[in-house]
Every structure is written in structure tokens, then in C-alpha cells.
Symmetry: C2
Subunit: 392 residues, 2 copies
């Protein structure tokens, strides 16, 4: 839409001097810097001096190709991702990512990663996910004409199972411990392009966070400036890192003078980024307790989230399910029904209870339809309803 | 956003010489022209000669207030409705209305009707709906700080029951025959503002279709011209009429030269507009057979749909559930998971099988999460999955 991609190479987040060609995407992390305990993701580097600053004079809209110079090549067709609204809520702004093609932020990532699969000539894509990521990957693969395999879990809510299966992918519920070996086998033996993680600490697809950068570009346009703080629901921290990277690019290009503080909003049942930040390690793995926020609850963290929080002067915030539920309820009471995980940004802002010198954005990632328990209720009709029943 | 509302009066669709003040909205149809058999809706008239044609130079975006001069006063706050993408699909364009705040087109209507409730000083809103309309009304009422009563049915899918209940409204499942008397009682005794129909043939809220006009404005901008044909999922035909009215306004204002043909895409289990058009009556009531397309399956039609089809040179198209399912499946196979009713536009275009001299738009109204059966499946994990299971 706005010219070809200026993406030029992959660069290790473990050691910025370790560079690799843009293709193939190193989906198993940086081979030079990763160890048996810590895997380092790759980042995408661009010819920034060729970026036309007029790029950021554009209005946001429903196709991230408007930011094509600062994205990897977008070979996959759009489903109209992006262009989501910023809705005022209790003194902050909610970026409502439930307004994407499969009703979560993941569509921004999958436009980019399925594009990488096409550009790599892969015969299909494979993803391990029990939620939004799997369905979104299936949708973008279907749109691109690529077969997809989704390794999901029987614990995924029934409505989400229907969702993941709708797009024609091969969706198979497997035991949780079987997912990663099976994913690797699909990659190694079928040559499918992996759009989820394969490493000991999280690295994921090197191009994934690039899609999330477009949230930063949109926020800059919607607010007329960078926010002072961004609170993001955080599982693997690809979203958090992507938004952070987008703002650092705006500063680097001279488009904006400031960058926001980034807050990693994690479930208290796990919280690997909080742990890594507290203990000063590049990435951490934690024991995972019980949480219904399955979209962000995982034991494995990655280095990206640590960088985003640390370099921005932010913090990690740990949230109980009760705090998440309160934020979810209050968002719905103002017309925004979010998945429990999706309410973590608002919950994190409230939990921190701090004032900021500028606008605060809480990213809300996903529709309430994807929550645990949705679709399991029973609501029999009142046999002879009266006005009193409506006022009870 | 773009100046005050130029809405000036209500005018009867039964007799254009019958005019009424803009407030109160005549939610029980035109008192002068309606009979015991046929109720005539009111339409909203504007001071069209005061419209700045520059209004239509705007990009679409997520807040219909950008079209405020051609809408009734928007007292209710936005949830970011509108600005939905137009996605290419098999030679036509799909307008994906699942990308609204409650993931259906209804949000455009409810921004306007909840505004009318506020402007009328009503203490609350009441709606009878087993699907999108009720949840959307609940969301906009919540956003506006108004209590809402939703009279729903036990036949509404469990996930949709959770959806309608999320926004804090009083949601009560009642027998289908109890809905209308109860709605009327809530209006008469509590003074609540009704945002669904109360008349023998459908009239609904006089301001409702005004919200849908914004789809026409957006399509004009997205295509750079009016489409040659629009296929819309049709229950009460408020969507069909609203889109039609928007295009007639663009012609009247000299912004566009042509208007599209409008196609009413109804379920073959009912099809009151098809019946009215075939028999030459202003509106019809039919026997309703069995259909899973509960979002559009109803026995009661209205005069608006008849006008839109007749005046545009369109047609009514009747669709079986099998035809709807085929369209739903094929949309999902290209990344768009629609509710069964939401696929009726694409199904109608296919069923008609006609060529048009210009772009064709099929409106897709709602997310697949709202469908009958979603959330009721069971997907146990394969105990020892192998690569062969993934290739089966």
C-alpha cells in the first residue's frame, strides 16, 4: 500500500552484533546466543533511514499494510486487521482489540507470520494454542490458501473449540505435554511453518511482534502523541514487546519525542516476566498455579517482555483472578465485554494505582465470547413472567 | 464531531404528507396512517440543504458521530461503532459488520436509539430480543448509564445468553408469546424507552435505520462509488432500509449519481418481505417454519423492506438453511466466521446468480460465536497423538 518492506535482516536480542538474513525466519531463536536455559529471540531490523516520515500522517484503518515499509513483506492477504478504536474508560483509554477479524489482537501477528510462511514457500502452518492464536492462525492460513494444523487442548472452552475449527484447519486436541514434540515433528517432517514457540524460554516467531507495532502507530495517531503508559495483558509478551518496539521506532524516526512506560500485566498464578525482572535474569520459567485467564496464564516467559519493561522504565504487575474479574465486570458495565485475560490491562492499571503525566492506554485484547464457562449456562424461561419479575 | 444534527421531523412512510416533530420518537408507528392490519413506520427527515458535501470526503472510522449532521442527535457515548472493513471474497465485497463493539451491525442502530432514550429523558431502555439486538442495546445502555431490560427467550444459544447478560442489564428469559405484552407494560408503566417493535407489522424505532445509513456512507468511500447491488441479511429489514436510505441521500445531495439495487436476503422458512413484494401488499405476516438462522427468521415483516427493494429495483431472495450453511462455510474457509444469519447476504448473491454492472456488496452482519450449537460440542484429547492423526 505504502511501498515495499524495508525489513533487511534479523538481529539477535541476545547480542545485537549477531545478525542474520531476513529469511529464513529463525523460529528456534538465535542459534549463536541461546543456551540450554535461556533462548534469545530474533528481532527484525529495517533500513530506517529510508522511511518516509509522511507514513505517520495516515489515519489508522483496517489493513496493517498501510504501515508496509516498517513490516516484513506482507505476502498474505488481509482480513482487515487493525484500525481498532480507542474508547474512554474511567480516566484511561481502552484500545479494543476485540475488534479484529477473529476478535483478538492475534490477527495483527498472524497477518505477518502467515506472510512469512508464504514467503518461505512452506506447504502449511502449524500452531500450538488453545485459544485466540490458533483460531487466528487458522483464519489467516485459510485466507492465504495454506493448510493449517492447530494443536489445541481439551481444556479449551467449547465455544473456542468451535471457533478454532470453523476455518477449516486440522484442529486436534492433544495432551498438553504432547504439543511441543508434535509441533516440532510437523515442522521437521512436513516442513510446515511454525507460528508458535519451540524454545526453552519463549522466542516464538521472529516476525510476530512486528504486527503488534501497528498498535503503537495507531495509538500515536489516535492520541496525537505517545501515551505516558501502556498496560498490556501479557502471556509470552509478544504484544508488550511489539507495542514497545513501535514506540521506539517513532522516537528513532523523529516522529515522536517520548516513549511510554510499558507495564506487563500477568496472572499471579504464574508471572514469568515479573519473576525474571525481580531476579535479574534474561527470562524465567515458573510454576503455574490455577487461573481462568488461560489466554495469558503460562509458565514460560521470554526475553522480549523483560526488555520492554526494563528499557521503558515500566513494571510487571501480578493479578489475581478476582482482580481480573473485577476489571472484566466493570468494562462490561461500560459496554465492553472482554475475555478475562483481555481485561488484564485495565486490572494492572488499577492494581498499580499510580498517576502518570499523560494519557494511559490499557490494551484490551479479546472478546468475552472466548472465556471459560461461556456457553455452559442454562437459562430457563419464567413460565408466567410479570413486571415484578423484571424489577426483582 | 461534524456539527449538530440536521434532523428536523418525523415523516410517515404510509403518507409522506403526515409529519410529526422529531421528538418524541413515535415508537408505535404512524398514528394517522396505520390500520389494524398494517402499521406504517416513521422516517426521519433532515434539512438536507444545509449539509456540507465535504462531509463525505471523510475516511470511515470507528465512531458514527463523524456523520452527525445526517443522524438524529447522538446523546449516547460511542463504543467505537462503524468503520468496518470491506473484504474481497469470490468476486464480491463482504462488509464485515462482526467488527462492531458487540460484534454485529446492531451497534450502529443502538447508538442512535439509546441516544433517543437519553434525549427523551427515559429512565431506561427495554428490548425484546434473543440475540444481537438485545446484547447491543444492553451495551449501549450501560455505556450511557441507563438501566436496561432485555426480554429474551430460552431458545437463545447459551453463549448468547452469557453475552446478553454480560453488560449488567436485567435479562429475563420469557415465553415467546409473553414478550410483547410485557414489553408494552414496561413502556407504559415504567416509562422505559422501547428499542424494539410494538406494532402489528414491523415499525420498530423510527430512528433505528438512521444508524445503518452510515454503512452506505462508508461503502461509498471504500469503493469510491456506490455499489451496483447490495445483498443484506433481512429479518425486519431495518438494515436493508437504512443502507438504501443512505444511498438515496448521497444521490439527493449530488455526492453520487447512482444508487444500488437492494436485495432482501431472507430465510425460506419465513420471508415476510418476499411475500409482501410478491402479493403487492405494504407489509406481510407469514407462518414461520424451522430455521437455525434465528437472527433473521421471523414471521413479521414491515413496510421499510418493501420500499427498499421496490424503489431500488431489487428483489427478495429466499434461502434454505443449507444454502446459508454453504455460504457460512465458504466465508469461514476464507477467514470470516459468520453467524448463520450473517452469511445470508453472500448466500443471496449466490442464489440469485446474476451479473451486475459494477461492484457487489454482501453485508455480513455478525460473528460466528452467536450461532446455534456453538459451545455445545465436546472435543476430547487424543491420548497418544502421532503425526498420522494430524494427517488423517
Amino acid at each position: 500500500m505504502n511501498g515495499p518492506s524495508l525489513a533487511r535482516r534479523q538481529r539477535s536480542l541476545g547480542d545485537p552484533s549477531a545478525e542474520y538474513p531476513l529469511f529464513p525466519p529463525l523460529t528456534r531463536g538465535c542459534p549463536r546466543t541461546s543456551t540450554a536455559e535461556i533462548a534469545y529471540p530474533l528481532d527484525v531490523d529495517y533500513d530506517y533511514d529510508q522511511v518516509d516520515p509522511g507514513l505517520f500522517a495516515q489515519e489508522p484503518g483496517t489493513d496493517i499494510a498501510r504501515w508496509s515499509p516498517l513490516l516484513p513483506p506482507l505476502e498474505a492477504p488481509t482480513l482487515g486487521e487493525g484500525g481498532t478504536p480507542l474508547v474512554a474508560f474511567d480516566g484511561v483509554y481502552v484500545k479494543d482489540e476485540s475488534r479484529n477479524p477473529t476478535w483478538s489482537h492475534k490477527d495483527r501477528l498472524n497477518r505477518v507470520t502467515v506472510s512469512a510462511a508464504l514467503a518461505s514457500g512452506a506447504p502449511g502452518v502449524v500452531v500450538a494454542s488453545s485459544g485466540n492464536h490458533g483460531a487466528s492462525a487458522a483464519a489467516y492460513a485459510a485466507r492465504a490458501g495454506l493448510p493449517a494444523i492447530v494443536l489445541t487442548s481439551a481444556a479449551s472452552p467449547p465455544a473456542v473449540q468451535a471457533f478454532a475449527r470453523a476455518y477449516g484447519a486440522k484442529v486436534v486436541s492433544v495432551p498438553i505435554e504432547a504439543r511441543w514434540p508434535l509441533l516440532r515433528e510437523v515442522v521437521d517432517r512436513l516442513g510446515y511453518h511454525p507460528v508458535s514457540n519451540q524454545t526453552v524460554t519463549h522466542t516464538g516467531h521472529p516476525f510476530g511482534p512486528e504486527g503488534y507495532k501497528t498498535i503503537a502507530y495507531e495509538l500515536f495517531r489516535q492520541l496525537g502523541r505517545p501515551p505516558a503508559a501502556v498496560f498490556a495483558p501479557t502471556g509470552y509478551a509478544e504484544l508488550l514487546y511489539g507495542v514497545w518496539k513501535g514506540f521506539t521506532e517513532l522516537r528513532r524516526l523523529g516522529v515522536a519525542e517520548t516513549v511510554p512506560r510499558m507495564f506487563s500485566c500477568e496472572t499471579a498464578a504464574g508471572g514469568p516476566h515479573a519473576r525474571a525482572l525481580a531476579t535479574g535474569v534474561p527470562a524465567a520459567i515458573v510454576e503455574l498455579g490455577r487461573s481462568d485467564a488461560y489466554g495469558i496464564a503460562g509458565p514460560v516467559g521470554g526475553h522480549r517482555g523483560v526488555l520492554a519493561v526494563r528499557d521503558s522504565g515500566g513494571e510487571a504487575v501480578l493479578l489475581t483472578d478476582e482482580e481480573l474479574r473485577a476489571a472484566q465486570r466493570d468494562l462490561a458495565r461500560q459496554g465492553m465485554w472482554q475475555e478475562l485475560s483481555g481485561a488484564a490491562g485495565v486490572a494492572g492499571y488499577r492494581r498499580l494505582g499510580r498517576d502518570f503525566d499523560g494519557p494511559v492506554v490499557c490494551i484490551a485484547t479479546s472478546s468475552g465470547f472466548k472465556d471459560v464457562g461461556v456457553g455452559s449456562g442454562s437459562f430457563p424461561a419464567l413460565p408466567e413472567p410479570t413486571l415484578d419479575d423484571l424489577l426483582a
